[in-house]
Symmetry: C2
Subunit: 186 residues, 2 copies
């Protein structure tokens, strides 16, 4: 079977902090848990990415309880883990070197948040030559305000970012599509 | 005065091809021309990025007339030029090395398209530690369709991408704000 790594980005307790505002895709963590357990059953590689913020007030700082992985995405012994301090999981980490050394060419990317760390990592992965599936219902983001004061909903941000990424940096798929492809690949 | 490089991304004739669909910010090239002439008057560094697509049907392929720079963004002798084949101007190029060797820490980014090459380059620049101003009226994009068939307008895509980038990877500014900052910096 083809090797496909599941890359789980920043699924950490700090994202439950109310300071982030309203979120879309409340089921994303359940989808990630399902993908993770299926990846384990199939002995496919899993990469856990943890954000260790350098910002003074971030709940994702290493000294904050929010730095911990959420229960749905807790790594198991033997699974690759890496920490990062910026949005891209390829900057300041050994991710590219690790993937090349394992001859992994295909990635399934999930996690938080769609338009920040997930988008940035997906863009770099695609531009570095990896084949990426981005899972639309296993990613999520938060409402944001433009610098002109306009309010944008999490779901509009999420959907527009997926439209910009799809076909250019990755293929956007649902959890169901990814699981059915994995099953047909066995 | 502080050194600030103007990075002009993919302002090439191929983007006038009707196959891209409807665009926002028709004045972007005029704004870029104004920024470029001001940068020249101030002897600040200018970096011209040219996309050399590897895709068989792209008007931006090196063997197509659309690969040429638009008149408003034509490089002059002595200005740094680089070509790229992916979205990020930092991948497969010497851009980071060039900026470090010139001790350039601050960038003003303009060009096409907001959500593809401009966003990807801005994200990597910010994550690599550069201070980035992204110019809202000197960038533009095209309508896109999501993989569920939903149509998104160029201006909604543009505005949402700027909202996601602002404060996280860069500061979003208008041409007028950038020019007034440059003037006060002299």
């Amino acid at each position: 079977m083809k090797t496909v790594a599941l890359v789980i980005i920043d699924v950490q307790k700090g994202f439950d902090d109310p300071s982030w505002g309203s979120r879309n895709n409340p089921q994303a963590e359940a989808r990630i848990e399902l993908l993770l357990s299926t990846w384990r059953k199939n002995s496919q590689p899993i990469i856990h990415v943890q954000h260790c913020s350098l910002e003074s007030n971030s709940p994702l700082r290493p000294d904050q309880p929010g730095n911990e992985f959420k229960d749905e995405a807790r790594p198991m012994a033997g699974e690759k883990q890496l920490t990062k301090t910026v949005n891209s999981a390829f900057i300041g980490t050994d991710l590219e070197e690790y993937l090349r050394s394992c001859a992994i060419e295909s990635l399934v990317i999930v996690g938080l948040t769609t338009d920040h760390c997930v988008s940035t990592t997906t863009r770099m992965a695609g531009n570095l030559g990896f084949k990426v599936s981005l899972v639309s219902d296993a990613t999520a983001t938060f409402d944001r305000r433009g610098n002109d004061g306009t309010h944008y909903s999490a779901s509009d941000i999420h959907n527009i970012h997926l439209a910009s990424l799809d076909g250019e940096f990755c293929v956007v798929r649902t959890t169901e599509q990814v699981l059915s492809e994995l099953a047909s690949n066995i």
